[in-house]
Subunit: 130 residues, 2 copies
């Protein structure tokens, strides 16, 4: 299989595949004429990269998974390094979520304060009846 076919089957552009190769993922054997030659396993490899990308992994972060696959393991996450990759990403996400949550709370506090200070008088959230 050459680059065009792999690109079509994987649903990415040939540019993307060459880019992956330039980044050290997805190395390709070469035919005598210099054409890149791929096997079916490379399809799974690209699929693994895309999946992780969808999770917000950077290209570099997909490396352990890719190397795990290339080492012959059944899944990209069949290796300890990949699991660590998961764990790091989860920790990263938790940290980010926490920061965003904190900002969210601060902005909400500002909103509440500003609403209370409005010259038109505070807009009550609950109906006051007497």
């Amino acid at each position: 299989m050459r680059i065009g076919e792999l690109a079509e089957r994987a649903g990415v552009s040939t540019r993307t595949l060459r880019y992956y190769e330039s980044r050290g993922l997805l190395p390709a054997r070469r035919a005598v004429n210099g054409y890149r030659v791929y096997g079916d396993e490379d399809l799974r490899l690209v699929a693994q990269i895309r999946t992780l990308q969808d999770f917000g992994f950077g290209l570099d972060e997909t490396r352990p998974f890719v190397e795990c696959l290339r080492a012959g393991h059944p899944h990209g996450d069949s290796c300890p390094a990949s699991l660590d990759g998961y764990r790091r990403k989860i920790a990263e996400l938790d940290a980010l979520i926490g920061q965003l949550q904190s900002v969210r709370d601060q902005v909400t506090a500002e909103l509440v304060r500003a609403e209370a200070e409005l010259p038109g008088g505070p807009a009550p959230r609950c109906e006051m009846r007497g």
Copy 2:
């Protein structure tokens, strides 16, 4: 007050102040020689921008607050448009947090599955006795 003094007092660079002006925030009067001239209210204006920036507001999103201040209101968030700005940002943050949470859960599920499939056997989270 000229640009250097305002920059120092506000804790930003002169480049930043000129940039704000170019973006339509922070318009400056000009002296006869063409120098930008600022008043004390501009200091509060810059402070308002920085505060919002810290909350993750883009420059454009600070516009209602800035115009509110320039309209003579006591705070940048003394205007309805500013409150809407707060609300939009909160909604934005909620959406983002939700997405990240979803991704986090998916990655966690992958991690759990991969751990269970490890050739070394699943690493139990709880001791099994008996």
